[in-house]
């Protein structure tokens, strides 16, 4: 637990971004949202789980760590809450802490609704707005959120350095999930397809590839990479709530079996024509904040 989690948190911020989730993507979305709000002249405090912000830049805007709003050191956030809350978690919170009494303390309540295979949307009625971080044409919810405001993908791929290189097949395995046997298969198949095989552990390092295979298909890595100029496939990981297989299959870029590897490597490069750039004005409008950004994200 970091020092920030032990320090009592009080704020006069306009918004609380409640980015409490089991992965790292919540922190990334919250960080993007916090900076969009700052550009629009709104203050926001970002609440994340301990260590889930380890891949974010150092905090220049208010940030706190905690397990949930029920943590004692966050009591001031409960007793003197910001005007609004954006909840990027289950509608009722991590452990059901976002009950009607607690949510009722916030004047404006927004649920950032990502598709989950395990939770319905019934509790969305406790929120004034439901923000869907997908464009209407590529939404993962398939109409289950009729009142949601589509804000486009809440991603920022400007930190990626992906460039086409017709000779290279690059595997990005950030968690080291591929064992040596599988790496040997990838290497041999790449050679038979006339490609050089390269293994990388970080998506954020420069990647020069004709064919890019990512282990995992989480929200950010997925939509960030789909907008790039490489032929990309994903090796989804089974998560408890996030359905990576479903996401990758919807866009036809899942590598589901080993038998699909060589046909993909040997095929001409097919780059998805997806514009995944974030539209900050649309995001703010979905939050009910009028006006244009001076420096759109």
């Amino acid at each position: 637990m970091t020092a920030a989690t032990k320090k009592a948190v009080a704020t006069t911020a306009d918004w609380l971004i409640y980015a409490i989730g089991g992965g790292l993507g919540h922190a990334r979305r919250g960080w993007l949202l916090q900076h969009l709000l700052a550009q629009a002249g709104r203050t926001a405090i970002l609440l994340v789980r301990p260590d889930s912000d380890r891949h974010l830049p150092a905090a220049t805007l208010p940030r706190a760590c905690g397990g949930s709003l029920a943590d004692p050191h966050l009591a001031d956030l409960v007793h003197r809450p910001p005007r609004g809350i954006v909840a990027d978690t289950f509608p009722r919170g991590w452990h059901g802490e976002l009950n009607e009494e607690l949510l009722g303390r916030f004047e404006t309540r927004v649920w950032l609704a990502r598709h989950s295979r395990s939770h319905g949307v019934a509790d969305a009625v406790n929120y004034h707005r439901v923000l869907s971080p997908y464009p209407a044409g590529g939404c993962e919810w398939d109409g289950q959120l009729p009142t949601a405001r589509h804000a486009g993908y809440l991603v920022d791929s400007s930190h990626l350095d992906l460039r086409p290189d017709p000779r290279r097949f690059v595997l990005v395995d950030s968690e080291g999930r591929c064992n040596p046997r599988l790496l040997g298969i990838f290497r041999a198949e790449a050679q038979r397809a006339g490609l050089e095989f390269h293994l990388q552990h970080r998506l954020h390092d420069p990647i020069h590839a004709a064919k890019l295979l990512l282990v995992g298909a989480g929200y950010h890595s997925f939509y960030e990479c789909l907008g790039q100029d490489v032929d990309v496939r994903f090796l989804p990981v089974a998560k408890r709530h996030d359905d990576q297989h479903r996401r990758a299959r919807r866009f036809g870029c899942a590598l589901d079996t080993l038998d699909e590897l060589m046909p993909w490597l040997a095929s001409p490069c097919n780059r998805p024509a997806l514009d995944a750039r974030m539209d900050g004005d649309t995001v703010l409008a979905a939050l009910g904040i009028a006006g244009k950004l001076t420096h759109p994200g």
């Binding site: 989730g21 789980r49 599988l182 050679q191 090796l235 089974a238 038998d259 046909p263």
Partner: protein
């Protein structure tokens, strides 16, 4: 960058069917290590550390009652690209491919043996190594929250 280890024709050089034999329309991904014919996924046969076409595979099987001699008498090719011999088409440094417009003659008797050999080039251990990557992510066991 080394040259690809094999020239790839635009179409699999095998034939499919038993009664109505026709050229395979599969996308070639490799070539037979013996006769150099281009092979799609469905027609490649692992043999040791090599990949063979169904005919060469059948011919090299220990104890097989080979219906083929050691030459490529089972594979007769003509090409619209000028090369008339199989060697000109599938060997060499790969400047010209002979698959498009090529016509091939297989002995009808060979096909049942070929079709019976539809097996994957990967072992059960290979598949297991691949499937293990997608296995349930246990990194969220601290509460099983809304994983991203």
């Amino acid at each position: 960058m080394a040259r690809p280890p094999f020239p790839v024709a635009p179409q699999c050089g095998c034939r499919t069917g038993v009664i109505f034999v026709r050229p395979c329309q599969g996308t070639p991904i490799t070539a037979c290590a013996q006769c150099r014919i281009s092979l799609c996924v469905g027609h490649r046969r692992p043999y040791g550390n090599q990949v063979l076409c169904p005919s060469c595979y059948a011919r090299l099987q220990p104890g097989s009652d080979s219906m083929f001699d050691s030459d490529r008498t089972h594979y007769i090719s003509s090409s619209s690209h000028g090369g008339s011999a199989a060697e000109e088409i599938f060997t060499g440094e790969g400047g010209e491919f002979g698959g498009a417009g090529a016509s091939s003659g297989w002995s009808e008797e060979a096909q049942p043996a070929a079709d019976a050999l539809t097996e994957s080039p990967f072992t059960a251990e290979d598949y297991a190594a691949f499937d293990a990557v997608s296995d349930y992510d246990r990194s969220d066991e601290k509460g099983g929250g809304y994983d991203s």
